[in-house]
């Protein structure tokens, strides 16, 4: 969606247009859900958070600054809601439920058609990503999946840019520690990038 069309839709949604709101939801819901689901790893919670994020965004459209992308704003709201849910979950159970982070839900294994080795490789990588802290996961997802710059990630997560870089650095270190033993020679997997795409 072009920036001008997005601004137009936001303006119409602000005036109560349901059609504009529908277009905004349809064009952002999958990206937001992927981001939220990677942090929460629970389908129901992720869907509830996405719904609440859209509702809060619509409720406060008056305060939306058109100099930023609507998606940036949505990710900011979604990330805050994720942190709130995680804090609530932590306060209820006394500690984090890492079991939900370690292994993805069965319906998460919907991957592209590929070889068994490649599928296993990606599964291991996602498991390693799942073991990152929520801010590290958020930074990694926004950087790689959304293609955001460190500056945009800092604005989205509402943290300093140096902290974003630190999260990315630590995340890569943890991925390296988790995956180093998985494959002896990563350079001998030339097809992985092609398979991923």
């Amino acid at each position: 969606m072009t920036r001008s069309k997005e601004r137009k839709l936001v303006a119409e949604a602000r005036n109560g247009s349901e059609d504009a709101a529908r277009q905004l939801v349809d064009s952002h819901k999958d990206r937001l859900f992927a981001f939220v689901w990677r942090i929460m790893r629970k389908h129901d919670e992720a869907e509830d958070i996405c719904q609440e994020a859209f509702l809060r965004a619509f409720d406060s459209l008056d305060s939306f600054s058109s100099q930023y992308r609507f998606s940036t704003w949505l990710f900011t709201i979604g990330y805050r809601l994720c942190l709130n849910h995680i804090r609530r979950r932590k306060s209820l159970t006394g500690e984090m439920d890492f079991s939900s982070l370690a292994s993805p839900e069965p319906d998460a294994a919907v991957c592209l058609a590929e070889s068994e080795d490649a599928r296993l490789m990606k599964s291991k990588i996602w498991e390693a990503v799942g073991r990152l802290s929520p801010p590290q996961k958020a930074a990694v997802m926004l950087f790689y999946r959304e293609g955001m710059s460190c500056e945009d990630i800092a604005r989205t997560l509402e943290i300093p840019m140096a902290t974003v870089k630190s999260h990315l650095h630590r995340a890569r270190g943890r991925l390296r520690d988790s995956l180093a033993a998985l494959v002896k020679d990563w350079t001998q997997i030339p097809s992985l990038r092609d398979i991923a795409s």
Partner: protein, 247 residues
């Protein structure tokens, strides 16, 4: 030639796309000769590619968009008026009434400065008395009206007509608006309670416990009804009155 440690220090900048061209050349040159660094960089790049491109997440429910829009409609219907506007409507008249009352209380002579004895009626400008009987008489009890009529009168002056009468009228209008605003607020709270607004229910219950019931009544004792009785109006000398009216 850079060392392995130097190369690893450059990985983040390289992967973030912030490494200068010359350092990129150095890094690539090092990786060509160092299988360990080459392997580590390939692993990190593969991770990035998988995160960027592999869509392993579950799908949203098909009805997600409809649910969001239905929830939005529901919110818009249940909150047709914004609370700040309601509070402004109620709060502003209330604040005006409080300001007037406070100003009168602050300018009232103290007990020890009054020159009348207990039980003695203070003379009241005739215009003020007529105004009070005529405009607020319907809401007063017979006893209050009788007491009002028995209050000694003094002749009105230009000062009363020009200043006090508008002030009383303004105060009456303010009190009426405040009462209407309070009724509106009460209605909205009751409707929200009926809609099952949990936070508001809790707030309302807390309010019921902690705050006394507040009623407006022109017959209740206190500054709101008695304020006009307290000032001592000293009749002007004929010469002074002529001068004042000429002004």
């Amino acid at each position: 030639m850079i060392t392995c440690q130097n190369a690893r220090d450059l990985f983040d900048l390289y992967l973030d796309g912030e490494l200068s061209a010359s350092l990129q050349t150095e890094l690539h040159a090092h990786c060509l000769q160092c299988l360990s660094c080459q392997n580590e960089l390939a692993m990190l790049e593969t991770c990035g590619d998988v995160i960027a491109l592999d869509r392993g997440e579950p799908r949203l429910s098909a009805s997600f968009t409809d649910r969001v829009l239905a929830a939005r409609r529901s919110r818009m219907v249940s909150a047709p008026r914004r609370w700040p506007l309601v509070l402004a409507r109620v709060g502003l008249p209330l604040a005006a009434a409080a300001s007037i009352t406070l100003a009168i209380l602050l300018t009232m002579p103290g007990e020890n400065t009054r020159t009348i004895t207990a039980g003695q009626k203070v003379a009241q400008p005739e215009d003020v008395q007529n105004l009070l009987i005529g405009q607020t008489g319907a809401s007063r009890s017979e006893a209050a009206l009788k007491e009002l009529r028995m209050t000694p009168k003094v002749a009105s002056s230009g000062f009363v007509n020009e200043l006090l009468t508008p002030l009383i009228e303004q105060g009456r209008v303010t009190v009426e608006r405040t009462m209407r605003g309070t009724e509106d607020l009460k209605f909205l709270i009751q409707r929200s309670l009926a809609d099952g607004n949990q936070p508001l229910q809790e707030l309302w219950q807390a309010t019921q416990v902690e705050m006394p019931v507040f009623e407006f009544s022109t017959d209740s004792p206190g500054p709101s009804i008695r304020w006009w009785e307290t000032p001592t109006i000293i009749p002007l000398e004929p010469a002074e009155q002529d001068t004042l009216e000429a002004l």
